[in-house]
Symmetry: D2
Subunit: 320 residues, 4 copies
């Protein structure tokens, strides 16, 4: 292993830059050459490569997004696309590739691995929806971003005695909603993982109002419905003053929190070590507070078993 490359793919997440930095610095520290590949698999197919030196990753550890930029690629799902990419890698004599991204990115990394390119995958997504890791790169930052937004909204909810329905990211996974909900004392949390009866929310709202709680916060992961839908339901069943907020893309950005920087450093460093040992086809993560190493196939096999329901139940007990 003389020369490796790194790319970021799929939705960007805060934590990608610390991971890129770790891959580049660790590799150079151990005498390897490193290439940055721009715009994910698109750049891999276009040959959009650049030799990275230490200074290229200077001053990025605290920056959100990804300096390598990212993309989603349909073309790379084809045999043709993969062939072109492999040709580029061979032309540059690149022996190993670190792929930072979500589930879709891992599928691309697996395809390359099966065709003989050594690849290691790092879980870069805010959604925490990757099997084999308790936490993905960027998830903790996103949770804190949502938490700070909800803290602000609670200011105004309290001032006006309103019920706020706040929609957060999470198409398939309720992790952001559950964590942020528990962290902000949300009165109800709705996640894609289970169909909580909406009528219980109304019960809790009513009971809260009876006890003198004049405002409440309801968190909704986008995968279970829109904030507007939940607001309509409340308006239909009660006469409480409701407001809706869709947090949107702000959730993807921001300077990574310490945990994501350290996770990026740890997994980025480990990826280089594994490539140097000739390992390929593995997805890294953090499980039970230790680095986890799984075959891509294992990761694809099922959804992660995060304790979403436990967190939501606790949030409800603690929001009386």
């Amino acid at each position: 292993m003389k020369r490796i490359a790194v790319l970021t793919s799929g939705g960007d997440s805060p934590g990608m830059n610390p991971a890129i930095r770790a891959v580049v610095k660790k590799a150079i520290y151990h005498g390897l050459e490193v290439y940055g590949v721009y715009r994910g698999y698109e750049g891999l197919m276009d040959g959009d490569f650049r030799r990275f030196e230490l200074k290229d990753v200077g001053n990025i550890i605290h920056r959100g997004g990804t300096i390598l930029r990212s993309s989603r690629s349909e073309r790379f799902k084809t045999e043709e696309g993969q062939k072109v990419a492999i040709d580029h890698l061979q032309k540059y004599n690149i022996d190993g590739l670190v792929v930072i991204g979500g589930d879709g990115s891992y599928r691309g990394a697996n395809a390359l691995h099966r065709k003989g390119v050594k690849t290691i995958g790092l879980p870069g997504t805010i959604d925490n929806d990757i099997n084999g890791t308790d936490f993905t790169l960027g998830f903790s930052t996103a949770v804190n971003t949502v938490m700070e937004a909800v803290d602000k909204i609670r200011d105004t909810a309290t001032s006006h005695e309103r019920a706020f329905i706040i929609e957060v990211m999470g198409r398939d996974a309720g992790d952001i909603a559950a964590w942020a909900g528990l962290a902000t004392g949300a009165e109800s949390i709705f996640v894609p993982e289970n169909i909580t009866a909406k009528d219980k929310m109304i019960d809790r709202l009513n009971k809260g109002y009876e006890r003198g709680k004049k405002h409440s916060i309801i968190l909704v992961a986008e995968g279970i419905g829109t904030a507007e839908e939940f607001a309509s339901y409340i308006k239909e069943k009660t006469n409480y003053d409701t407001r809706v907020s869709v947090l949107g893309h702000v959730q993807r950005g921001g300077s990574p929190v310490a945990f994501d920087r350290i996770l990026g450093a740890t997994l980025g460093g480990k990826a280089v070590e594994l490539l140097m040992e000739g390992v390929s086809g593995k997805a890294l993560g953090l499980e039970k507070n230790e680095i986890s190493i799984y075959d891509y196939e294992y990761v694809f096999k099922e959804k992660p078993k995060h304790p979403i329901q436990v967190l939501c139940n606790l949030a409800i007990e603690l929001s009386i």
Copy 2:
């Protein structure tokens, strides 16, 4: 003047609490008694008063929203409503009232003033849309909140080479959009004050892309249209990848920045001084970095003349 009261009315803003704290502490410092009136004019009509001691405003200087809560009141616009309120004030022997709120709140304060209740108005609104002051209480915090959100969105805009259209508060006033736009290097800013030709935005987008600028931020004050409308226009005229974000209620919250805390302290303190001198019917503000004191009528006469256009023009020059 032995006994005064304070209320907050209309949309809450971060800066109200520092102002409440200043009114209460300054009054007690000078031997007055102070009452907090809850829920704005609604509480004034309901007799929802509470005697405030120093400890009631302890630990609130850094909190968003308003501990007095707020409301909008149709009832108080009637003679009947005002009469009831004045009865309550008389029952409590309250000689002066500090009203913290926006334009509508000032109209209520003016009505009371004309009927013999001594009132002083403080400009509490994030919108910066009050005549006679360069800055309202909460505006600076809101601008910084928007700025931080846009900084985060730029992370992801840069990572994906997208045009982001971000909708911010401002029904009649473009101050938040203009300030936050200039502060974040926005490529285009749309405000209610003038009809900027949308086609120039397309020109700038195209020129930016030609120069290699693959992402851009467009700020839209809600009063000039929705972010969705602007996104549709861009999609119609170009093939750039666009995304929309509506920042929403998060803009009203958050711990007040230093400027708003100091403005609250300064104006709150001055309001008490004026009431002690027997002054009534005045709206306070900060103009040319000094406390301004105007009759309510002056404030109602016209819209504020803030240099929105100057800021927007500068933003455009600096976003090439």
Copy 3:
């Protein structure tokens, strides 16, 4: 179990309030009565108790410090002191006590447990120096606070081409220094756990300067020496421009990050459950991402085995 109490003891940490909130709300949810004990064991001996209702823990989840206030108590180490405390608990018919604090606080909780008072301990300290848990309540917030401060100092270090020596908390444990150092790309980290040769720091400084790196950040945990001592050493051996910063008490404060709020909720909730089951004499924590439950004796037996050295080594590799 009908009636429980909760106290915070030792140095305050951000995460204590979310834990207090969880204890109180969980208890009330399950029909118990709860008392807050003020000023730690001092208040326990003085009978400084107050019945807590839901509203007493409203709006505290996001606040640093501890609403119960804290203290260090010599008096409670005596038989006499403990006897007085137990008398107060009996007078109030309090059957169980949740103690939130560090190692010293656990010793007090253990003494009470041995004398028949049911106690559960939660690890409330920023230092992360408690055996049997991977993370203490407040540690994550402290790391992020240090990280943000170092990020700011790096701005000025870069602008002036200086070596900054930054002293952080940690008398016996280097966890804060190691985590924050890795999260900020520090060039050297000194911790109490091992005597790193100072001359290697000089080597790295020299090599960095040769490679064009004109500034560097050196993190020092207070337990291994003062920042001034390290600065003197550098000045003696090199002619680099150095500056010193002692972060100080700011490290204890601040709104808890999401992780500390969730840890507080989880452990606080669990503590109540255990007391309801009649369990006593246990210290709770989070190990391998699951709640850990140990006898106090186990916790006292040895120092925690956190991977400080691994983090420091990685930081050095990644700071080339």
Copy 4:
């Protein structure tokens, strides 16, 4: 005017980068060429110049410090030093120079101006100690940084019932102490501008404790003494538990707040306009919320007349 340059000098401040960005972008927008001069006057004498394009100031508006780096230069105070600098400027055909810095930097700019180089000065310092402007670039950010630190320290002060003495920057000017003190509800503020009797602080401490206020915050600008000195004084006169914190270099860093970004944009833009009009020898600022333009000599004539005492007095009234 075809070609201009920009440098930053003296202590760095958050607001320098937005000003650099504005100078570069405005100049290029109007068809000028721009050079960045590194390391202030040192770089000017060393010919450390680089042609700047738009991309060189991309993504810097939100960054603290100065991308041009800064220095303090003794050499430039000599005729010889100035001659070498002018030679470099002539070699590059640079017609105008924007100098961003404090009082000392203005003296250099004035020397160049007298020798025929067109210069415009922008007030870049966190200290707010420049005559002719109400606010310097970076001051507002520094005030907010101090405010956030004090907010955090108050968490722990409250939790332990302590008096905290906090030392902030300000050798000659108490602006940071006064603003941050009023913004955080500090109980006492000591500034270089006047010798407040220390015994009054003791009086206030005692009275506060009698009223039940068990903690207090005392802000000390470094120019009036060290925090340690004030702590010793308190310990001598009372038996309160005191703690000391020296905020240090963190005050210079951080992402600029909106106000500093807008001030940088406005003054940077104006500097280019003036140079294009052939103006030289002027210091820009913001006075009474409008751009101020003064001869350097005016600025040197006296200390700024900021209402430090008014703010300190108000802070004391409001901290009862």
